[in-house]
């Protein structure tokens, strides 16, 4: 059934919609070309056949064979939908002069991908999906299915890398702007990851608090819900003034004030703890609120500083050429650790090698050490230009526009799914499990890290995936306030009505979302105990 749909979409596109569009220059409207108009070449016939074949294959009886056939056709259809029009495009470009009316200004004529390519791709992937469903039903292993599904995409990547699709104007644009794109892409990733990391710390803390404290529960969940309803532009605006002011502040002065505030808050908290049992209910609540507000300011300041500076530092770590060697070594150690973890889980190495549990953390330790040095180096590189006394918060990346407000807004947006899922995950644990843990002598921390967190992990990870994907989207909007990232391309494209630039920004963003989701899913399945994995 699904295969039929795929076949229909692809065939419809090839019969009725233009595959490419030939434009004489950047601005003039283009000349649409349908597949049928391309001068005879048997290869285009192949596309029609491929597009139609799912319609026949769908009626093939044997499930397993049908599955493989559909997967093959789907992959091929997607691949050729991109590749064959590119060949035709090349031919058209060479004869471009002859195709336009006399007097048309022809400068840098270009080939745009058009609707039929999209329908071809869509049809191909729908067919592929139908095939994968068949294969799943007939018991083909997950790995084989994954490989089969990715084969076409891999080939397309090869084509891209080999320059076979370079006729398309988006590729022309890409070759012109590749370096900027790579940087923007990196910014986008760091953006999302830093916001996610900050959100995770704050979100898990808030979620934990909400799950433990019935009185705070409603307020916390309500507050993070409200944040989500503020439009992102408005949130940027709200953050602009205070962050701009904060950015001008002298670092040392602020640090001194901060220490004072923090000390005050801690002192107040300690005093309250002493008095807590003796205070009547009413004053107790007021006192709690007062301490809370007192603590909020230094906490918020610290959070803003570490988020803004964290972004700068991480970006520097990833881009500064001097750090390349250490960067790679650290990455390697991390990969090694992940492999060891996965291997231990799969092969039950802990059982066979008694010391495995401890040894596998060695690469993690090395990676952590490497990361620490990297961060210190990057921070040093960022701050070295200035005298300590002259440092302002702006030197730490805090400013009214640019990355600081954007990333803080992103962090705030990530809170809802993170808090909600952490809360739900922790709340849903059978109290008898926690009770038996306590009864056996787990301390509160042991209980949290060894029982509650592992049990809530899948639910929390669902929230992390949710947050990550939405952050990829919101991060694109952040370039409005000069935060860079992929949104830059999209904004430029919109301003100059250049579909290529928009796509150049949008496609990596979508890819990033998909890859991030898949990577987090993989992480989740590797780290979730088989005892609680959904069957």
């Amino acid at each position: 059934m699904i295969a039929l749909l795929g076949g229909c979409i692809a065939s419809f596109g090839f019969f009725f919609l233009p595959v490419i569009e030939l434009k004489p220059n950047r601005l003039a409207s283009g000349l649409p070309v349908t597949l049928l108009e391309i001068p005879g070449d048997w290869r285009y016939l192949l596309l029609f056949l491929l597009a139609l074949s799912p319609l026949l294959l769908a009626f093939l009886g044997v499930r397993n064979r049908r599955g493989w056939a559909l997967v093959a056709v789907g992959n091929l259809l997607a691949l050729l939908s991109l590749y064959l029009p590119a060949l035709a495009g090349g031919v058209y470009l060479q004869g471009a002069e002859a195709l336009f009316e006399a007097g048309t200004r022809i400068s840098n004529p270009r080939i745009l991908t058009s609707a039929a390519i999209a329908t071809g791709l869509a049809g191909g992937y729908i067919t592929l999906f139908a095939g994968l469903l068949d294969l799943e039903a007939s018991g083909v292993s997950r790995w084989a299915r994954g490989l089969a599904g990715a084969a076409g995409a891999l080939l397309i990547a090869l084509l891209l890398a080999g320059g076979a699709l370079d006729v398309y104007s988006i590729m022309v644009e890409y070759h012109a702007r590749g370096e900027a794109l790579a940087l923007r892409f990196l910014e986008h990733i760091v953006f999302v990851l830093v916001a996610l990391a900050a959100g995770l710390i704050v979100g898990i803390a808030l979620g934990l608090w909400a799950s433990r404290d019935a009185k705070a529960e409603d307020a916390i969940l309500y507050a993070v819900g409200i944040i989500q309803t503020i439009p992102s532009l408005a949130l940027f605006g709200i953050l602009l003034a205070p962050l701009a002011r904060l950015g001008d502040a002298n670092f040392l002065t602020l640090a001194r004030e901060w220490l004072l505030l923090a000390a005050l808050a801690i002192a107040a908290a300690l005093i309250l703890r002493r008095l807590y049992a003796r205070l009547p209910a009413r004053p107790r609540q007021f006192a709690m609120l007062a301490v809370f507000i007192l603590a909020l300011l230094p906490l918020a300041l610290a959070a803003v500083l570490s988020i803004a500076f964290g972004f700068e530092v991480v970006l520097t770590v990833l881009t500064l050429p001097q750090l390349a060697a250490l960067r790679e070594a650290t990455g390697l150690a991390l990969v090694l650790f992940l492999l060891l973890m996965a291997a231990g889980e799969r092969l039950r190495l802990e059982r066979r090698l008694p010391r495995y549990r401890q040894w596998r953390f060695l690469p993690l330790l090395l990676a952590a050490l490497g990361a620490l040095i990297l961060l210190a180096q990057a921070a040093g590189a960022l701050l070295r230009q200035r005298e300590l006394a002259e440092l302002t918060m702006r030197d730490f990346g805090v400013s009214g526009i640019g990355t600081a407000p954007a990333i803080i807004a992103l962090t705030l947006y990530s809170l809802l799914p993170l808090v909600r899922n952490t809360y739900a995950g922790l709340k849903n644990i059978d109290p008898a499990i926690i009770d038996s843990g306590r009864g056996m002598g787990f301390t509160a921390a042991q209980s949290f890290f060894r029982i509650e967190l592992p049990l809530a992990f899948p639910v929390i990870m669902a929230g992390v995936r949710n947050a990550a994907i939405s952050l990829v989207g919101i991060a694109a909007v952040a370039s409005i306030i000069g935060a860079g990232a992929l949104g830059d391309f999209i904004l430029l494209g919109v301003n100059s009505t250049s579909i290529d630039q928009i796509l150049l920004g949008a496609i990596p963003a979508v890819l990033l979302a998909v890859i991030l989701d898949a990577a987090l899913k993989l992480l989740e399945s590797l780290m979730t105990s088989p005892g609680i994995r959904q069957a």
Partner: protein
């Protein structure tokens, strides 16, 4: 040894769940806490390992107040098993049993040995089930693992809150019996909560009957059944308490040595004389080795030419009870045959004595002098 001294627990809402409890569970005995729902059994139990704080009074463990330990340190020395079992679902069976030893930093090879030993002890084959996860086991198997886990670090004291509460009656009976066997080996001091009087009688060395946070009676099962202190206790142990007491008495302790009996090659006269002597309507027939072959009725003796023609042969197991049966089983056999006496045989089938209805009556009338030790049970 666990001692409650004037222990009071008042919840923050002012409710007194435990109200002046004084109680001692002696070393190596199972002390059962029983009472109606909400009487404070769980609260009392959880105060021992400080999952709940005592409001007033104190609890001593081997003479030492339990609040002199860090709560976690204390809990690691006390086995804890609950009705909901609470196995950690993300850990394998082995890892679950290894929890307390790991918390105590035992070394891995010792843990491994201990875990497999315990799993074997509770009837879970570690090579088959050891690396499974809790959800892959049945409820009964999970209960067993729960018990093994509570025994994990070989704690001298165990707290068990309706540990067999979540399984069907047949499985529960099996688990109870197996647990008593384990207890014979390990000899822990156990506080055992239940609301099932039969379980209390079967498992307990002593039973503490609670009502609204107060101790109503603390006695051996037999004494509790024989002399319930007040109407509440009487009602709680049930109208069939005499029958329940029979459960506690072994045939060996209650049988009479002399029963009407004759060898299978005796003459009719000899048989008749035997009946006369015992004022009985029937006699048992044994062979030269004393093995029970059947019985003979007075009426049949009159009508027959020889003893072997008059006697009724029957497999010993269907008319007699073994020496290690309970008096209650003897009564059951008595009721289903027309004898005055239930014959008792030893492991070889030799007739060693009998239990009469008169004898059973005497036993339950005299209050509490036949308190049977644990070895008097099946």
């Amino acid at each position: 040894m666990i001692e409650f001294k004037e222990v009071i627990k008042e919840y923050p809402n002012g409710f007194r769940a435990v109200d002046g409890l004084t109680l001692t569970a002696r070393h190596g005995e199972i002390c059962v806490l029983i009472g109606p729902s909400g009487c404070g059994k769980t609260t009392a139990l959880r105060m021992v390992n400080r999952l709940i704080d005592v409001t007033r009074g104190e609890i001593l463990i081997d003479g030492q107040p339990n609040d002199e330990f860090e709560p976690e340190v204390l809990r690691r020395q006390i086995g804890y098993a609950i009705q909901q079992i609470g196995l950690l679902p993300h850990m394998t069976i082995r890892d679950n049993v290894a929890i307390v030893p790991r918390l105590l930093d035992w070394d891995e090879s010792r843990i491994r040995q201990r875990v497999d030993l315990l799993l074997d002890m509770v009837g879970i084959d570690p090579s088959i089930h050891g690396d499974k996860y809790p959800r892959q086991l049945s409820g009964g198997q999970q209960q067993r693992v729960g018990v093994a886990r509570a025994l994990g670090a070989d704690p001298p004291i165990m707290l068990m809150d309706e540990p067999f509460g979540a399984v069907d009656p047949i499985t529960r009976a099996i688990l109870q019996e197996e647990f008593l066997q384990i207890q014979q080996e390990v000899g822990k001091t156990i506080l055992f909560v239940t609301h099932d009087i039969d379980e209390a009688i079967y498992m307990g060395d002593r039973i503490a009957l609670l009502r609204a946070g107060r101790l109503v009676q603390y006695d051996s099962p037999d004494d509790l059944l024989a002399m319930p202190r007040d109407d509440f206790a009487r009602e709680f142990v049930g109208a069939d308490r005499s029958l329940k007491r029979l459960h506690l008495i072994s045939v060996k302790d209650s049988m009479m040595q002399s029963v009407p009996c004759c060898e299978h090659d005796a003459t009719l006269e000899e048989a008749r004389a035997c009946l006369e002597r015992h004022h009985s309507e029937s006699a048992f027939v044994v062979d030269a080795d004393g093995i029970l072959l059947g019985w003979v009725e007075k009426a049949a003796l009159e009508a027959s030419q020889s003893l072997s023609a008059a006697m009724q042969r029957a497999p010993a197991a269907s008319i007699a009870v073994p020496e290690d049966a309970t008096a209650r089983e003897a009564l059951s056999v008595l009721l289903s045959h027309s004898f005055d006496v239930t014959p008792v045989i030893d492991a070889d089938g030799v007739l060693t004595g009998g239990v009469s209805i008169q004898r059973l009556q005497d036993l339950v009338e005299v209050p509490g002098i036949h308190a049977a030790g644990r070895d008097g049970r099946p």
